[in-house]
């Protein structure tokens, strides 16, 4: 049993100068065989392992990670969490996740700092207004706490937004989901890793998958830089690198991996107390507990695995930020970085079995995967354990690209992040 984290354990350990804290997770060598192997030690992969162990009693499992856990998009995103999606399938999926977020710190005994400071989406033209109202109605009927705000209400909720009617893209209104917010991204990966490790899951870092071994239509194991690992079930949660793994298994995915950039400002005292997103002018901003403005930029339009994007994307984003928040002109960009996001044609994820028995993919989250982390892990674990999707992820199968039953979140002008 691991140390339980609390103020009391902190005080107790202070007396021994914090020399006696246990490892949050171990650093094992891979065993020869597992009941299931999760490829990818990001938030989604670690959550999948956690729920496989916790809810499906699969303890002889491993997570293999090419680099260090939480080092991909988990540690590179702008941490927005919300569930105000338009389509029923998406709303079901993301609200399932949001409900888990609400108790996650306590469940993991790890403070993931889920901060329900609300997420506002802004409308800048009449079609935005129609779309946001449509979404708000759908959210309400799906039991999601979204409300539509007038321009004045937007201003009241976030006074620093420039709501002058004379700006280039005036704010015509917005929506607010109060239960939405942000969380501490690293903590999510670390908390799940600690929880999974405690239940016996092997978390194997610096272990890159080099091949998927198949016997006919079934999975037999994976080749890694730490040797062959035998297993009948492989759950791939490799985000931007999903296609690379799929190619190893000889299957094709409808994905493109593109650069997505984000940036933070230098830290300042509290100035914006919510998350504001604007699709039309493409600006997303919140403020971290540390005081940095956290700003999400857009994706580039080309495939790249270099974790670098083009400057024009950052410039465009900051143009939009200053349009909405002219007071931020003298704030300074402290750090800027890129991630690789795997994007589906319908901007919805894939949580699905494949044509290969025992091979499952959890990918295609595009720019918005972080918010789904707990729900995604839970539902993917269900799918792997039962070899059948849960009803909440049934719509996110691979066959939809053949049959045409897409869950088209961008076509429907729902916001991406």
């Amino acid at each position: 049993m691991k140390n339980k984290y609390s103020i009391f354990s902190l005080i107790k350990n202070a007396f021994s100068y914090h020399e006696n804290w246990q490892k949050a997770w171990n650093d094992p060598q891979p065993k020869k065989e597992y009941d299931a192997v999760i490829v990818g030690g990001g938030g989604h992969g670690l959550a999948t392992a956690y729920y496989l162990a916790k809810k499906h009693n699969m303890k002889n499992i491993a997570v293999v990670e090419k680099g260090w856990i939480g080092g991909g998009n988990t540690g590179r995103n702008t941490t927005i969490i919300r569930s105000n999606y338009l389509w029923d399938a998406s709303a079901g999926l993301y609200d399932h996740a949001l409900k888990i977020w609400e108790g996650l710190s306590q469940e993991l005994n790890y403070n993931v700092m889920f901060s329900q400071r609300g997420v506002m989406n802004l409308a800048h033209n009449l079609q935005d207004v129609r779309d946001l109202k449509r979404r708000t109605h759908a959210n309400r009927l799906n039991g999601i706490d979204a409300v539509y705000l007038s321009t004045e209400e937007v201003k009241k909720f976030c006074p620093i937004i420039n709501t002058s009617p004379d700006i280039r893209y005036p704010v015509l209104g917005g929506t607010l989901q109060r239960r939405a917010g942000t969380a501490r991204h690293d903590a999510v990966a670390w908390g799940y890793a600690r929880g999974a490790d405690e239940m016996g899951v092997d978390i194997i870092q610096n272990c890159e998958v080099k091949g998927i071994k198949r016997n006919g239509d079934s999975v037999e194991g994976i080749e890694t830089t730490k040797g062959f690992i035998k297993t009948k079930k492989v759950g791939v949660v490799a985000a931007g690198h999903s296609s690379v793994i799929a190619n190893m298994a000889g299957i094709r995915l409808p994905l493109e991996s593109k650069p997505l950039q984000a940036l933070v400002s230098e830290p300042v005292k509290p100035i914006i107390d919510t998350v504001v997103m604007s699709n039309a002018v493409h600006a997303y901003v919140s403020q971290s507990d540390k005081g940095e403005l956290v700003i999400g930029a857009g994706t580039d339009d080309y495939v790249s695995y270099s974790q670098k994007g083009s400057h024009q994307i950052v410039e465009g984003t900051l143009n939009a930020i200053l349009e909405l928040y002219p007071i931020f002109s003298r704030m300074r960009m402290l750090r800027q970085w890129g991630g690789i996001v795997d994007i589906c044609p319908d901007a919805s994820p894939i949580l699905s079995k494949t044509s290969v028995k025992g091979l499952y993919f959890n990918c295609g989250w595009g720019t918005g995967g972080f918010k789904a982390t707990p729900g995604s892990g839970d539902l993917f674990a269900h799918t792997i354990a039962n070899d059948e999707p849960h009803k909440l992820n049934a719509a996110f199968n691979l066959n939809r690209f053949v049959s045409g039953d897409l869950v088209d979140e961008h076509g429907a002008a729902a916001v991406a992040h």
Binding site: Y5, Y17, W21, N111, E266, L318, L322
Partner: protein, 1002 residues
Amino acid sequence: MSQNLRVKSSNFIDETSRISFKFNGKTYYGFKGDTLASALLANDIHLVGRSFKYHRPRGIMTSGSEEPNAIVQVGNDKAITEPNVRATEVEIYNGLEAKSQNCWPSVNFDIGGINNFLSPLLPAGFYYKTFMWPASFWEKYEIAIRHSAGLGRSPTKPDTDIYEHRYIHCDVLVIGAGISGIMAAKTATKNNLNTLLLDEKNELGGMTIYQNSEKFKIDNKISSEWLNDEIEELNKLDNLEIKTRTSVAAYHGYNYLLARENLTDHLSKDEKENKVRQRLLKIRAKKVIVATGSLERPLVFNNNDRPGIMLSSAVKKYADYYGVICGKNNIFFTNNDTAYESAISLLKKGINVHCIIDIRENSNSSIVKEAQDLGLKIYWSHTIVDTHGYKRLKQISIMELSKDGQSFANSNKIVLDCDCLGMSGGWTPAVHLFTQSGGKLKFREKDQVFIPNKYQSEQVSIGSCNGDFELDEIIKNSSDILKDFLKIEKTGFDNINVETSKETSKKNIWLLPSDKIVGKTKPFVDYQNDATAKDIKLALREGFRSIEHVKRYTTTGMGTDQGKLGNMHALGIIADTTGVKMGEVGTTTFRPPYTPLTFGTIVGRNVGEYFDIFRRTPMNDWHINNNAEFENVGQWKRAWYYPRGNETMYEAVQRESKATRESAGILDASTLGKIDIQGSDASEFLNRVYTNAWSKLGIGKCRYGLMLNEDGMVYDDGVTTRLGENHYIMTTTTGGAANVMGKLEDYLQTEWPELDVYLTSVTDHFATATIGGPNSKKILNKLIPDLDLSDENFPHMSFKEEKIGKINCRIMRISFTGELSYEINIQASYGKSLWEQCMDAGKEFNITPYGTETMHLLRAEKGFIIVGQDTDGTMTPIDLQMDWVVSKKKYDFIGKRSLYRSDTMREDRKQMVGLLTNDPNTVLEEGAQIISELNQTPVKMLGHVTSSYFSPNLGKSIALAVVKGGKNMMGKKLFIPMEDKTINVTVVDPIFLDKENKKLNA
């Protein structure tokens, strides 16, 4: 306070020009040339700020952009105040106001300082382990955490300054104007290469420019004199552009670099007036020479953060360059020769240096000898184990190190008085830009530095950023590298005589031992974020192995200085603790920008009205003069409605639409996309891009076309007219024009290059006035009396090329309202004139200008869709009940195959229908959801209302909607569940008015 801490030896400070400034509300004086840091030090002020977590008193540590501690809020004007400015980078000017940050009520007495006493409870990552109970309290804890975090304060009013961009293309970009940068710039320029030289400081010459030691000579001159001469020569060269106060922020691929040129921050308020504050240089260089120098390392020991503890090179620079004495009782602490240079420089100015504490056993380099000859006491093999003094360093305790450097030779502790400690842990090459560009580093064991190894683009690193620290090596190696890189025979520096003091002994201990257990010490690694060596050790103990994990868990290197000082120590401590070789630990990624970059600079002029262009039609002035309200559609400003007097939008739209149906209305349709299509395969091309057939369309006829995406979903629509055998003009939606053009070009160039078709976007070439209504024919007749407007000569869906006055125009008899209607296209420059002529001619018929809102209402009455409003990228033409426009005979068109997939053929897809409310006065909300049964959970939503209006012509509310299986629901009662009520509706045909199209031919 008097300037009692100045020495009269500086060439860089203008002591005749006294400057007054305020710090924390009190007025001080400095000289022209001072930074805020040097001026404060001259006034004996070390305590400048408080640290992020423990609120420990902190002073000025460095003299450059790597400063972690001395960061201040500059200015108190709400619009132009600036947080987190490094005092070491602020050039003082009259009227400068600065204050300490992150402290309350003052930097001298800061309540937050209590955190320092709570620090045993606040180890790395403590917040992950607590604040979880009770669950609902996190938000309350968070408020407290947020208020104690953050550093300075954001402005609260819009910035009044101007920023701009400049593009520069050059043959050679040299970054850094220290000795090697000067050599590079001169060499490149003399070889006829168009060269740009940038330096972040206000003067050229780097550290050498104030190097007055006789030990360092070039060409028999003291190195600073030699460099001065070189710079003078440089200034005479033509091919060279030099920019100071210019910091390279980012080095992207393909030698694309961003630099920030600071133009006015050093000027007083009056001098700043109306000038551009900062300029972002977007540089594309054929070759880049990185000469960014190196950063002195601090040493990591217990309580190494007190005000008065500085880098040894900073102590030297303040004395040599600014003429400022940092302490009356100076001690240096070092593991290399650098501190000796500083100590000697101070001694020669008559400044007291008590001793040097050196962790090395000994050294016989000439500079050490010189120090010894000057009588300087040296404590070999000693280390500092603790320091004393809360708000200013007062004393240090030192002990003799054991042979292995991990413990002590004996238990003797010597306490020395000291108010300024200059420390030197060696030098770290500034490889930040190199790695940003994709370069790969290698680790050099002998002096424990990462240096450039593999370059990703046409670039090279020279000087100390390339790991050359000795003067003779810098000159020789830089010269050799330049020859190779620029492919030249000689540099002019090939056979130059250099005298230098060679370092003969090296020793490095990343974490110096203390006589206390680590848990009781505070050896800071990241000063700003208060990350200590014990935090790093705790992270390792808890299983965080990767440097990235340690960095994130301890926040080392995440401050506004991005770990310029401490990152190497973090790596070293990890390597030592885990027993891994340092080169194998790897480095964290240096992310751009090198120093924080102002948002305003990145945005430049693209603010306010320049954020994005507005496109306006030729009739725009008329609309403004006639009280139009505008709607933004894409980039266009479109007239939305024309209120008269106090009319609301609703009233105006009711009036406009009634007038149009009863007599005549006029719409500015200039924004519709127009694509001119020519070529012998034009008809075949249209066959392939539209869902319906085009080959048989007669010349002079018009046809409605629907365009799909390859996935079968409706993409765009519009009327296309056949102007000639091989000539069509296509119209698109306003918002879709550019995308349609792009898509058509794509198919034409990449899939069907064999087609003889030419596309030209002519949207802006034509202005379009649409006159509609029963009297439109009479109005057109007045405009063109000779034209036979009979249905035989000019039937619906046909086109005439005519003249209005002397001006050619294209007239299409087409209708989006269901009324008899003519769309008159004229050369754009005559648009306003055309509009005015239409208004004149229509006066007797009460011709009424209407905007987009009335247009939407009128077309909804007829059940015409608007792509983007009634469709959302998930609707097929079949879903829209527009089967009539989909050719069954054509073999193929874009998107056809997708219509025959199992899910796109389903009968229960959402389909376009009309809705009537039971109460004809209730107008539905667009976007409202539709259900068939009340009190369901979960609620089964069938679709939503896409368009909804009160129709004055029908005297009732009408709506278009998409409903699952709607096609087979005619007459069915459905419900619209609103927040406060449920509205009853009936499914009807989406064509509400004149289904027989009688009006078109009225």
